[in-house]
């Protein structure tokens, strides 16, 4: 009865390649690595209690678990507290310019298939000055892992509203409250056509590690929003979602339950998503999450379940993970790279071009 809408799918409907596609081409470590192999000699200099510490520890663990060669890992950051991250990791790294990490990372990813490229960025870095580079990296589907440390504030410049700060935020730069609405990084990423979108909490090591592992395994651009507490300038921003009751867990193939499982997400007759008591509606009516759905509409609808003003409820986990052509793979496939004499000979032909003449 209904017409095939395949043609409308923005990405091929193929099953996402399982396993470690995102790391294809990256050499493995010769010896097993542990978390502490990834710690650099630099003293970590975030404020006491900063959520960045927990994220650092988890990332070090995740990288060790991936088993790839340390020297084939590159971390690029912008500017901000979070962007100091590369200094603390004993891999290759660039602490670049405010907002511009995706640009350098794209160049690195295009140049080298054998590197695992990570971006660490903040809400200001990624979404204020760097918003355009972020959405273009997502659109192109460059094989990058983007970790967006969202503390909903500018940390390094001492506390101004960021594009994720709630409306009405009071800071020195907005003494009677900010008047702009925040971005939802997940919705923005989905609107930009992102093929992998996740969200995690700084303090939830297991959950964060799971999402980061999946991001690394995904071939193409993965963006993971990480809720990060800034005890100095925006303390407690995520307190309300730290209790498990507030989290809407997204796991591919599992019913979408809230907190302990008392409530679940159901599709109403209107087609909209709503929360319902599982006991009342029955578990079979609870939406089963399909992260691999080629159509991003349901992922987008799930993203709307967030309560962005008070932040008392937030979906967390992997919203979307679909296979699509990968920019850097396709770009590399167009280029032949002869070496030595072969290259010089064809080049000499290019120098001559089609119409030459001789002067004796």
């Amino acid at each position: 009865m209904s017409i095939d809408l395949d043609a409308a799918a923005p990405v091929p409907a193929a099953e996402p390649t399982a396993g470690r596609e995102g790391l294809r081409g990256v050499p493995l470590a010769l010896n097993a690595l542990s978390k502490k192999d990834f710690a650099s000699s630099q003293e970590v200099r975030w404020c006491p209690g900063c959520g960045d510490y927990a994220i650092l520890a988890t990332v070090q663990g995740v990288l060790a678990d991936l088993g790839i060669a340390r020297e084939n890992t590159v971390i690029v950051s912008g500017i901000g507290c979070s962007s100091r991250f590369p200094y603390y990791m004993d891999v290759y790294g660039i602490h670049s310019l405010h907002g511009r990490a995706p640009t350098l990372a794209t160049g690195i990813a295009l140049a080298r298939e054998d590197l695992s490229v990570w971006i660490v960025t903040g809400d200001g870095d990624a979404l204020s000055i760097g918003g355009n580079h972020l959405i273009h990296a997502l659109r192109r589907n460059v094989n990058l892992n983007i970790l967006l440390f969202n503390n909903r504030i500018y940390g390094l410049t001492k506390g101004q509203p960021s594009p994720t700060s709630e409306r009405g935020k009071v800071t020195k730069a907005s003494p009677v409250g900010s008047v702009d609405a925040p971005f939802d990084p997940v919705a923005l990423a989905l609107g930009a056509g992102a093929t992998f979108v996740g969200r995690a909490l700084d303090s939830d090591r297991a959950g964060l590690a799971e999402v980061l592992g999946a991001a690394a395994a995904h071939r193409g651009a993965s963006v993971v929003e990480i809720y990060q507490n800034c005890p100095i300038f925006n303390d407690g921003a995520y307190d309300a979602v730290r209790g498990p009751e507030a989290l809407v867990r997204l796991r591919h193939g599992a019913p979408v339950l809230v907190g302990g499982g008392e409530f679940g997400v159901v599709r109403e007759a209107s087609g909209k998503l709503a929360l319902a008591s599982v006991a009342e509606v029955g578990i079979e009516r609870v939406l089963v999450h399909d992260a691999h759905d080629p159509d991003p509409s349901t992922a987008f609808a799930l993203a709307q379940l967030i309560d962005s003003s008070g932040l008392t409820r937030a979906p967390i986990g992997i919203f979307r993970s679909v296979d699509a052509p990968v920019f850097d793979d396709d770009a590399r496939a167009q280029v032949r790279r002869p070496r030595g004499e072969e290259r010089l000979a064809t080049l000499q032909a290019h120098l001559h071009g089609k119409d030459v003449w001789q002067v004796a």
Binding site: N72, R112, L351
Partner: protein, 614 residues
């Protein structure tokens, strides 16, 4: 019967509506010029609009060709022959035509409506406006339509061949054999036989027209120009620049990465390099100029030769990233094909007004080498040199070209790759460890730091835009370290080996020295010849390295009573030379969006020389 006259040099300008095929006619005549062995230089000029309204002055597209029996350096200023396909083209170009020059125009276009469109109250063909010129007002449209009679073409399509009719006439006038152009048409329109035949017919008709045209008593011939033996081709600056980058990458055994965002007149570099798929050349059309240079820096970090190309507005946007590249000390070539500024300015016009930006356009003390190309063909060598310095000295290098060089063309002695200087990237290896530690800011004798690329075990390190401690590269706020690092970065640039400035002063007795840089080379050389031909004495010296300057620059400047710095800006190199050498050099400035006019400049020089002599 007509007689044959030999000329040393001729300037022809083809001008018409954007749709009139003037670039094509000019290109074709240039190729033919190549064949007969003349030296040449060309200058296409496009309207600012993609397709400006027909018959308007803004919509005029032109192509100028200077060809000669001796070595020349510019596309010339005043044309000897002007082909003007309509009143708009006449209006826009007549003022440039040499007094006594030849005008060929399409009489059928001189309708009241067309004349009014460009503000001619009366018909210039009849009102005496053209009294000083040899005028051939021919019904080119009608003749073109007539020529393709019987081929079944629509009138409009047939009329389109009028550029070939004009070309036929010009070919006859300059004693060119018709076969080569007819061959060319065969090849070009192989898949469209009717169009081919119509164009060929028009060309033949134009050629035949010469014999019958009233008042044409002479045909001209320009003898071949003597040239260094070798294999030549015609080349534009943008193309040569792309080839120079490719050659440097190949000789260094590096992949080449171009990050670019389209912008007039630099886009062709992106186009050229995008077309090359068998040389390890990757092009990346970024979302903006900042992303373009950012990606190029990333590629360099990853071990490729990172390049970014743009024009003025894009250069302004790249400022912050260029500063980062200075701090990171990685190879990077930044190409600026300058256009007329400020701001959006006149995008299709040329200028040399980004020198200040290249030298100073970043916050903080951020020195880097600056190189400028002197001619379309020299874009190859300048690009090669820029890449060599970038790779071997681990530094961003700014390479300045401009719209005139980028779009202009000239004959070019095809270089032999084998004879180009070697380029040594030498990546760091585990052997660079000092007591087991890698020091990313330890310098070699040239002051360059190690290029340690990801994938090299044991050299993992972090770099960034914060000031770094000498040797270790760790973040440092130490006052003395900062001062030392600033000095080290400056010293690295200052220590570059730059060839000495060469002075051309035939009798070694000139009082006046003209200093130029970049694309003023051709006009200055042409002006100097005119001066010498008029009995004046003038010396010339041309800078290709703008930072650092050649070591002998000060000595050269001080040798002359009067130093004139000729630039297409208000005196940017002038300021550098005065500050550095305290020499009272004076400007010759020309900011019209066009190359300096050799005739105007030579006139100026003659006045100056006379002043000095008196």
């Amino acid at each position: 019967m007509t007689t044959l006259k030999t000329l040393d040099r001729v300037v022809i300008r083809f001008a018409g509506d954007s749709g009139d095929g003037m670039q094509l006619a000019g290109d074709r005549f240039t190729s033919d010029t190549v064949f007969v062995g003349n030296d040449f230089a060309t200058l296409p000029a496009f309207p600012a609009e993609i397709r400006a309204p027909q018959g308007t002055v803004a919509g005029v597209s032109s192509f100028q060709l200077h060809f000669a029996g001796s070595d020349i350096t510019t596309p010339g200023d005043a044309p000897d022959v002007l082909v003007a396909m309509n009143p708009a083209a006449l209006r826009a170009n007549l003022a440039d035509l040499r007094r006594g020059g030849t005008l060929i125009t399409d009489a059928s276009e001189f309708t009241t409506r067309n004349l009014a469109k460009v503000g001619y109250a009366t018909d210039p063909l009849t009102d005496g406006t053209l009294a000083d010129y040899t005028v051939h007002a021919i019904d080119l449209t009608g003749l073109a339509i007539a020529a393709s009679d019987g081929l079944g073409l629509a009138r409009k399509e047939a009329a389109r061949t009028k550029n070939m009719l004009a070309l036929g006439l010009i070919s006859w006038l300059f004693s060119r054999a018709p076969e080569r152009t007819l061959d060319y048409l065969d090849r070009k329109f192989a898949s469209k036989p009717t169009i081919r035949d119509a164009n060929a017919a028009a060309f033949r008709a134009g050629y035949a027209l010469g014999e019958t045209l009233e008042g044409v008593a002479v045909r001209y011939e320009v003898p071949p120009a003597p040239a260094k033996p070798g294999t030549y081709r015609q080349i534009s600056g943008n193309k040569a620049l792309a080839l120079g980058l490719m050659s440097a990458a190949a000789k260094a055994d590096l992949d080449l990465f171009l990050g670019a965002y389209p912008i007039t007149p630099a886009t062709d570099i992106l186009n050229e390099l995008s077309g090359v798929k068998d040389q390890g050349v990757m092009t990346f059309q970024a979302e903006d100029e900042i992303a373009a240079i950012g990606a190029a820096i990333g590629a360099s970090y990853a071990g490729q030769l990172g390049v970014t190309s743009t024009s003025g507005p894009g250069m302004s946007l790249k400022a912050e990233m260029i500063g980062l590249a200075v701090m990171l000390e990685l190879p990077l070539v930044i190409v600026d094909v300058q256009r007329a500024g400020p701001s959006t300015g006149m995008p299709t016009r040329t200028e040399q007004s980004d020198l200040n930006l290249a030298l100073h356009g970043r916050h903080g003390e951020a020195p880097l080498p600056v190189i400028a190309a002197s001619s379309p063909g020299d874009c190859f060598h300048a690009a090669y040199e820029a890449a060599r310095i970038a790779v071997e000295h681990r530094t961003p290098v700014i390479l300045l070209s401009d719209g005139y060089l980028g779009n202009g063309a000239e004959p070019w002695l095809v270089p032999d790759l084998a004879t180009l200087p070697a380029i040594e990237p030498t990546f760091a290896t585990a052997s660079d460890l000092v007591n087991g530690t890698f020091l990313p800011y330890r310098r070699d004798a040239k002051g360059a730091r190690p290029w340690a690329i990801p994938g090299t075990a044991g050299l993992e390190h972090r770099i960034g835009g914060l000031e770094k401690a000498d040797l270790t590269g760790a973040v440092s706020n130490d006052p003395d370290n900062h001062e030392r690092m600033i000095a080290l970065r400056q010293a690295k640039v200052d220590a570059l080996a730059v060839p000495d400035l060469v002075v051309k002063d035939p009798d070694a007795d000139a009082d006046v020295l003209v200093v130029g840089w970049g694309s003023t080379w051709g006009p200055i050389d042409a002006a100097a010849r005119r001066v010498r031909a008029a009995g004046g004495k003038v010396a010339t010296a041309h800078l290709t390295h703008l930072n650092p300057l050649p070591a002998n620059t000060g000595e050269v400047l001080r040798r002359y009573r009067r130093v004139i710095v000729a630039e297409m800006n208000t005196g940017q190199l002038l300021t550098v030379l005065r500050a550095r050498y305290l020499v009272d050099a004076q400007p010759y400035t020309w900011v019209k969006g066009q190359p300096i006019s050799p005739s105007r400049f030579s006139a100026h020089l003659l006045t100056v020389i006379a002043e000095e002599a008196s």
